[in-house]
Amino acid sequence: MRNRDLIAAVVTLILAVALWPQTVNYTNFGGIFPRTVLVLMALLSLYMIIARIRKPKLEAFFLVEHPWHIVVVSVAGLLWIWLVGVLGFVVASVIGMLFLVWFLDKEKRQLRPMLTAALVIVVEVGFFYLFFAKLFLVPLPEGIFF
C-alpha cells in the first residue's frame, strides 16, 4: 500500500519541469499553448502533492499475479514489431504469436497443442494478411521473405 496519488503527482510535476526548458525558444504563437499546459500541470501537481501529504491516501498498485508476464509481453511486442521490418509481416507475426501462446500457457507446451496452435495462428495471420494486403491494398512489410 502506497500513497499512489502522491507518486502520480510527483511524476507529473517532474514531467512539467523537465519539459519547460524546451518551450523557452518557441515563438509566441507556437509556445502559448504548451506553456499554458505545463504551468497548469505543475500547479495541479503541486496542489495534489500538498493535499496528499496533508491527508495521505494509501492504495495498492502494481499488485498483479504475474508481474514478469508484463515485462516479457512488452519486450516480446517490441521484438515482434522489429522483426516485422526484418522478416516481413507474415513470418514475424506467426513467430510473435506462437511465442506468446507458448509463453502464456505453461500447461500446454507439449508438441501436439503447440502444433494445433501453430495451425490456428497461420490461418489467422493468413486471413488478415489477405484481407488487408490483397483486398484493402495495404502494403504490409515484406522483409526478407514476403
Binding site: Q22, G30, G31, F33, V37, Y47, I81, M97, L104, F128
Partner: protein, 515 residues
C-alpha cells in the same frame, strides 16, 4: 412527390440494395477492426465507385460510412478497443458489461441506439439542412476554443477517482497533442530530434495504444481472472429473448436516446468536431442528468445508449454542411466531398436544385442503410460475442496484440507508428496503475488541436483590440459556450455538495432518533 417516388425506385432497385448490403457488411468489419477507421473504409471504396453511376456510388459510400461508425462498437464492447475514435465512450460501460457476461446485451443496445441515432441525423439532414448550416457558419476560432474547453469539462465525468487526477490526465493528453509542428508559428515541439514525431501523434495509434495494450498487459498479468468473459461464471451463456428484453430497456430511456442523438447531430454539423467528440459529450451529459451517476462505468446500458446514438447521429449531421455549403465537417465527409467532385457533382446550395434526384436518393439510402444495419449487426455481433468469449486467454491476448500491430501499421503504413503504439500502451498501463484513466488523456489528445487553433487564431483575430484575448469573451455564441462550460465544470461540485448535505441531514436524523 415525383422526386420521392423516383428516389424510392432508385434505392430499392435490386442492384442498389445488394450493393448496400455488401457495403454494410464491409463497413461493420472495417469499423470493428482496431485501426481501421470509417475514413479509411470510405476512402478505400471511392475508387470502386468511379465506374458506378453517381447515385449508386453515393449509396454505397453512405452505407459503409454509417455501418463503420456503428461497427466500432463491437471491438469497444468485446475487447475494450474502440474500433473507431467515435466509440471511445462505448468502452466505458460496454466492456464492463461484456466482462459481466452481458456482451450480447451491450451489442444489442449499441445496435438499437446506433439505428435511432442514425435515423435522427438523417431526418435532420432531410428537413433542417439550410438553417442548421447557417448557424454552423457563425462559429469562428473563439467559439471553437470554447467548444474545446466545454469538451474538456467532460473530464469530470470520465475520471473514476480523483477529479484533480482526471484533469492532470487531460493535461497529459493536451501535452501529447502539442507534439509536432505548431499549427501557427511552425515551431517543432517536443520531438526530441525524432523526425517521425514531427507530424504529431496520430490519434488512432494513440487510441490503440491507450486502450488495447493496457488491457492485454492486464490480462496476462492477472491470468484468466482479467478475461472474465472467458471464465465459466460470467462467460457466454445462450439466453433467450435478450433482444426484446434489451430493446424494452433501451426504449425505456427515450430522453437519453433523443438527447444524445440531437447532441450528435449538432456536433456533427460543426466542422472539425465529429463522432469522436460527440460520443464523449453525450456520455457526459447522460451521466450528468442521470439519477444514478455513480453506476456509470460499472457496465450499465445508459452509457452505451448515449455514445452509440450520438456517434451515428453525426453521420447525418456532418453531411449537412457538406451538402448545403460544400464544407466537409469531418474527415469522412471530406472523402465524400472528393467522391462527389469526381462524379461531376458540386457540393453546395445548387446541389439540391440541380441534382435533387441524386441528393434525395442518397438521403433515403442512408435511412434504409441505417435500418438494414440492425439485423446484420445483431447477427454478426451475437456471433462475434460467442467467439470472443470462448477463445482462451493464450489465444486472445496474442490475437489482440496482432490486431493492434496490424491496425496501427495500416493507418500510415509506418512501422515507427507501431512502435509508438506499443510504447504508448506500456506508458498507459503504468499510468493506469498510478490511477490515471485513459479517457481524460485521450480526450485531451482529441481536443488539444481544436483548443490550440481556436486560441491562437482568436489571438490573431483580436490584435485590433486593446487586449487580444478579449475577443474570446465578446461574441454571443462564445458567451453561451462559456456559460455551458461553467455549468458543466461546476456540476460535479454541486452534486458532491448536495450529497454531503443529504448525508449530513440523514446522520442528524439518525442521531436524533437514537437520542
Amino acid at each position: 412527390m415525383d422526386l420521392i417516388t423516383s428516389s424510392f425506385v432508385t434505392v430499392f432497385s435490386p442492384g442498389n440494395l445488394l450493393l448496400m448490403l455488401a457495403a454494410i457488411v464491409g463497413g461493420l468489419v472495417a469499423g470493428a477492426l482496431p485501426g481501421f477507421t470509417a475514413t479509411m473504409a470510405v476512402a478505400l471504396l471511392v475508387p470502386f465507385t468511379f465506374t458506378m453511376d453517381p447515385t449508386t456510388g453515393l449509396i454505397v459510400l453512405g452505407a459503409i460510412y454509417m455501418s463503420a461508425i456503428y461497427g466500432g462498437s463491437f471491438s469497444a464492447i468485446l475487447i475494450n478497443t474502440p474500433g473507431t475514435p467515435s466509440s471511445i465512450g462505448t468502452t466505458f460501460d460496454g466492456y464492463p458489461m461484456a466482462k459481466k457476461g452481458e456482451g450480447e446485451k451491450a451489442i444489442t443496445t449499441a445496435t438499437i441506439s446506433s439505428v435511432i441515432g442514425g435515423l435522427v441525423g438523417v431526418v435532420a439532414l432531410l428537413f433542417l439542412s439550410p438553417p442548421l448550416a447557417q448557424i454552423a457558419l457563425k462559429f469562428g476560432p473563439p467559439e471553437y476554443f470554447w467548444i474545446a474547453i466545454f469538451g474538456l469539462t467532460i473530464i469530470s465525468s470520465l475520471s473514476s477517482g480523483s477529479l484533480a487526477k482526471g484533469f492532470l490526465g487531460g493535461l497529459i493528453g493536451l501535452l501529447l497533442s502539442a507534439i509536432g509542428i505548431a499549427p501557427i508559428g511552425g515551431d517543432i515541439r517536443f520531438t526530441f530530434g525524432r523526425p517521425e514525431l514531427q507530424g504529431g501523434i496520430p490519434l488512432v495509434v494513440a487510441l490503440i495504444g491507450f486502450f488495447t495494450i493496457p488491457e492485454i498487459l492486464s490480462m496476462v498479468a492477472h491470468g484468466h481472472k482479467a478475461h472474465a468473459a472467458a471464465s465459466d461464471e460470467t462467460g457466454y451463456k445462450k439466453r433467450k429473448g435478450v433482444f426484446w428484453q434489451t430493446a424494452r430497456e433501451v426504449f425505456a430511456q427515450p430522453g437519453n436516446l433523443i438527447r444524445s442523438s440531437i447532441l450528435g447531430t449538432i456536433i456533427g454539423i460543426l466542422p472539425g468536431a465529429g463522432g469522436n467528440i460527440a460520443n464523449l459529450v453525450a456520455y457526459n451529459e447522460t451521466k450528468r442528468v442521470s439519477k444514478h451517476p455513480e453506476k456509470f462505468g460499472t457496465g450499465i446500458i445508459d452509457g452505451v445508449i448515449a455514445t452509440e446514438s450520438s456517434n451515428n447521429a453525426t453521420v447525418g449531421g456532418g453531411l449537412i454542411p457538406l451538402l448545403t455549403l460544400g464544407v466537409p465537417g469531418t474527415p469522412v465527409d471530406a472523402v465524400i466531398f472528393g467522391a462527389l467532385m469526381l462524379q461531376g457533382l458540386n457540393p453546395g446550395p445548387q446541389l439540391f436544385t440541380q441534382n435533387a434526384d441524386i441528393v434525395y436518393s442518397f438521403i433515403l439510402s442512408l435511412f434504409v442503410a441505417t435500418l438494414l444495419m440492425a439485423p446484420i449487426g445483431i447477427l454478426g455481433g451475437r456471433w462475434l460475442n460467442r467467439f470472443v468469449t470462448k477463445v482462451s486467454l493464450r489465444y486472445l491476448a496474442p490475437s489482440i496484440l496482432f490486431l493492434a500491430i496490424l491496425g496501427s501499421y495500416a493507418i500510415d503504413n509506418s512501422l515507427p507508428e507501431v512502435f509508438m503504439m506499443l510504447i504508448f500502451g506500456v506508458i498507459a498501463y503504468v499510468l493506469r496503475e498510478l490511477g490515471f484513466d485513459a479517457g481524460p488523456i485521450v480526450l485531451g489528445l482529441i481536443l488539444g488541436p481544436l483548443a490550440e487553433q481556436g486560441l491562437v487564431q482568436s489571438m490573431l483575430m483580436g490584435t485590433a483590440l486593446a487586449q487580444p484575448w478579449l475577443i474570446l469573451f465578446t461574441r454571443p455564441i462564445s458567451i453561451v459556450l462559456i456559460i455551458m462550460s461553467l455549468v458543466s465544470a461546476a456540476w460535479p461540485i454541486v452534486v458532491a455538495y448536495r450529497k454531503r448535505r443529504k448525508a449530513g441531514a440523514q446522520a442528524e436524523v439518525k442521531e436524533y432518533a437514537q437520542s
